[in-house]
């Protein structure tokens, strides 16, 4: 039986990982909600966010907060550029073309990253504010583990405000239901889609930077596995549904940490749990936990 302290440590770790998954999963679900497209490049956008922050701090010697802001802005712009160059020209093409384009963009970013950033892992410089370790009742945990859920909640609150209370948020919800009717109201659908990619990329960058402070090893292919898992989190929650993505993210993050904690002999299969989840969900609840009934295949 594990001690209470150890359990708390795992629980906190799980919540922290779940928060990161939630942030990234939202990007998948928002883009799917509006374009009915799985943005396969989303994991790579996440990776770019970490590298942008890394270079801003190491090559440009910026203070961490400035580096983070710049990384988030750059990632946002990058996400919108991907939409404009790889997805927008295919707006009226069959969905399969857009999907292939998404996979192509993903490979392109990964390989460009290998060429430009180098294939060797880089160590992310963690600012002391986030890296310091605190001791609460025998539980020793880095600050960042607590900061992650807090930042996640703040980001979610802002996101929900934008979606529910602002004009652009209303337009996003309208476009996700009916393109043509939105156009007839004078809504610039392309602009709305662009903003959606921007928001998703901002969240991916926030998630990426926090990820890098938690697991401070940067690699050009580091976005693949978190990307896949967060896609699964979005599907588990019900793709297209933001609350579902958050719940899916937490379920995946918590169970990944806790299963390994309770059954250490399974730790080699750590990455496999998400896929088992995906199979189970697709078998028994294909619409996801909070999803609408899915009528079309993608």
């Amino acid at each position: 039986m594990m001690s209470f302290q150890t359990f708390m440590q795992h629980l906190v770790n799980g919540i922290s990982l779940g928060s990161l998954y939630a942030l990234i999963a939202i990007g998948y679900t928002m883009v799917y909600g509006i374009l009915r497209l799985i943005n396969f490049a989303h994991g790579d956008i996440f990776m770019l966010g970490t590298y942008f922050a890394f270079y801003a701090m190491t090559s440009f010697m910026l203070p961490w907060w400035a580096a983070f802001v710049i990384a988030i802005v750059l990632t946002c712009v990058f996400g919108m550029i991907i939409e404009r160059t790889a997805y927008r020209p295919l707006r009226n093409s069959p969905k399969i073309s857009v999907m292939i384009s998404a996979i192509g963009v993903s490979f392109l970013i990964e390989n460009l990253a290998i060429v430009l950033f180098g294939g060797r892992p880089k160590a992310f410089p963690i600012p002391p504010l986030f890296g310091n370790i605190i001791n609460i009742g025998g539980v020793r945990i880095a600050n960042i583990v607590f900061i992650i859920p807090v930042i996640t909640i703040i980001s979610l609150a802002i996101l929900l405000y934008i979606i529910n209370k602002t004009k652009i948020g209303m337009a996003m919800r309208a476009v996700s239901k009916d393109y043509q009717a939105s156009m007839l109201m004078g809504i610039d659908v392309n602009h709305v889609i662009s903003v959606t990619f921007g928001i998703g990329s901002v969240l991916a960058a926030i998630g990426g930077i926090m990820w890098a402070m938690r697991y401070p090893q940067l690699m050009p292919l580091m976005g693949i596995m978190p990307g896949l898992k967060c896609f699964i989190a979005a599907v588990v929650g019900g793709i297209g549904n933001i609350k579902g993505a958050v719940i899916g993210g937490f379920i995946l993050g918590l169970s990944e940490i806790l299963i390994v904690a309770f059954l250490p002999e399974l730790s080699g299969y750590r990455d496999a749990f998400a896929f088992v989840f995906l199979i189970l969900i697709l078998l028994f609840m294909p619409g996801g936990l909070m999803g609408e009934n899915i009528k079309e295949k993608v």
Binding site: M170, A174, K177, D178, Q180, M183, L184, M185, I187
Partner: protein, 236 residues
């Protein structure tokens, strides 16, 4: 006000509009009638910039509007309440109306128009916090018209506003159309319910397989033998 000249549209390989001429005069109610597939909806879609014509011109207040973006056409004061209502089912009534005013900036004027729409459709005010998709067909049609009015149109185009509604509600809707018209909005109405559409129309056009086959004053068309045979049925 709105002048359509020799409009030709191809849909895939189909010649959907074959040189249509329509003239919408300011302050009038104009009706387009015709069977399914006659080209009515295509005509309105082309005016809104959703469909690109292969030939022909559309002038609005003396200015060509073909190849303009839909957004700019809405800004100029033309709006379409589309067939099948197409309200946003996941948004509340109030949010649907706010989106109707998407291209407008003047918050005071928007608020005033919201009150105007609520006075036209008290039903919508009662349901302002309800999701659009949970309302009845008639209420959704009111919302679709209200949402279109929120763009502050000079020309309101209505595509089959009576589709799938009970006769009593159809009567209400047509009363409201008349009232909106009285308040200074020019109306271009598409209907399969030819009788109702011609009764309120100043001028009407009959479309058949992409061509205008007849036009005239509303009452004249209503009494026209061919129109009666083809669109109003023997029993009328």
């Amino acid at each position: 006000m709105l002048k359509i000249n020799n409009l030709n549209v191809f849909y895939g390989g189909i010649h959907a509009l074959k040189g249509i001429n329509i003239d919408v005069e300011e302050g009038k109610i104009i009706s387009l009638i015709g069977a399914n597939g006659a080209g009515k909806t295509t005509t309105l879609g082309t005016i809104m910039g959703l469909v690109k014509p292969s030939e022909g011109t559309i002038y609005y207040e003396g200015e060509p509007i073909i190849n303009r973006r839909t957004k700019d056409i809405v800004k100029k004061g033309i709006v379409l309440a589309p067939e099948g209502r197409r309200i946003f089912p996941n948004l509340t009534v109030e949010e649907n109306l706010i989106l109707g005013a998407y291209v407008r900036e003047n918050k005071e004027a928007i608020k005033k128009d919201m009150q105007w729409v609520y006075s036209l459709f008290p039903r919508l005010k009662e349901r302002m916090w309800q999701k659009g998709g949970t309302m009845s067909g008639g209420e959704q049609q009111m919302l679709a018209v209200g949402r279109a009015l929120m763009t502050k149109p000079k020309i309101l185009m209505l595509d089959e506003p009576s589709l799938g509604l009970a006769p009593l509600i159809v009567k209400d809707i047509f009363e409201i159309i008349k009232q909106i018209h009285k308040e200074g909005v020019t109306i271009l109405l598409i209907e399969q319910n030819a009788k109702a559409a011609l009764q309120i129309a100043d001028y009407g056009y009959v479309l058949e397989t992409g061509k205008v086959v007849l036009e005239g004053k509303g009452m004249e068309l209503l009494n026209n033998e061919e129109v009666q045979k083809a669109y109003l049925g023997e029993a009328q």
